[in-house]
Amino acid sequence: MGDGTGVAYFDGVKKLAINWFKYSAPTTFYGLAGKMIPWFAVSAAILLAIGLYIGFAVAPADYQQGEFYRIIFIHVPASILSMFLYLILAGYAALGLIFNTRLSAMMASAIAPTGALFAFISLWTGALWGKPMWGAWWVWDARLTSELILLFLYLGFIALHASIDDPRRADRASALLAIVGSVNVPIIYFSVQWWNTLHQGSTIKFSGTSMHVAMQQAMFITLAACWLYAIAVVLARVRSIILERERNTTWIAELPEVKG
């Protein structure tokens, strides 16, 4: 059957990859991540300040939405990040499952909380935008609904990972769930879109045909800031996970922060 050959193939790839990934990656990555985190964090803070300054001081008020549109400088980056982070999470999960690399599984579980929080921010700010625009906190708009389902997918991943005690099984089971989820995401998105057009729901549309240049600049800068923030937080979280998982190895014992 196809099963047999597939497994044999995976085993072959595993043997090739195992030494290279399994022993070197977390060791070097731990130090590298530690050096990079402050840079990412500081540049995220600076970019966020610049982006918000442009967004609030330079960009004009929208002639239809007034000042309320200024929510997009956090809403849009949060939505974009929550979606991309899920794809990245699923990518790491697939890598971990196929090549049996421990670091990718750790990355996947480090990304999940950040992605879930961005999904939450996106929903929250979306609701706050909806109130002045539609007069209701929640409208079953296709994008809001998809975002809610995405949050459920994140929560499922986190819950499954948390409820399995054996870390290896937890990694592999939640990785499989993430892959199944990411295959489902386009189907879910399409079906929600379909459902929404059937019920003639309203969609957030930007009033003018083109956004003001300063609005676009502010949005891209805050988007970059959110990316950098997410990378910094994920790296910080993955360092703790590495420490926890590798605590019995000698290289951990020789780290200055453990010795001191």
Binding site: I74, W129, A253
Partner: protein, 57 residues
């Protein structure tokens, strides 16, 4: 129109800041605090394990 609606329309910027940005920053702050706490706890655990092993030897 509820009083919140009226207030919202009179103070749109306050609404945007308090409602969206304050909440988003709060979420970021909580996340950062959680990550730092996790790091502290894990380091403590690892040190404890090392000390226990050191005593055995």
């Amino acid at each position: 129109m509820s009083s919140l609606d009226i207030w919202m329309r009179e103070n749109p910027l306050a609404y945007v800041w308090l409602g969206s940005y304050a909440v988003a920053f709060l979420v970021f702050a909580i996340e950062i605090a959680m990550v730092r706490h996790k790091r502290k706890i894990t380091l403590q655990q690892v040190r404890l394990i090392r000390e226990a092993e050191g005593e055995e030897e």
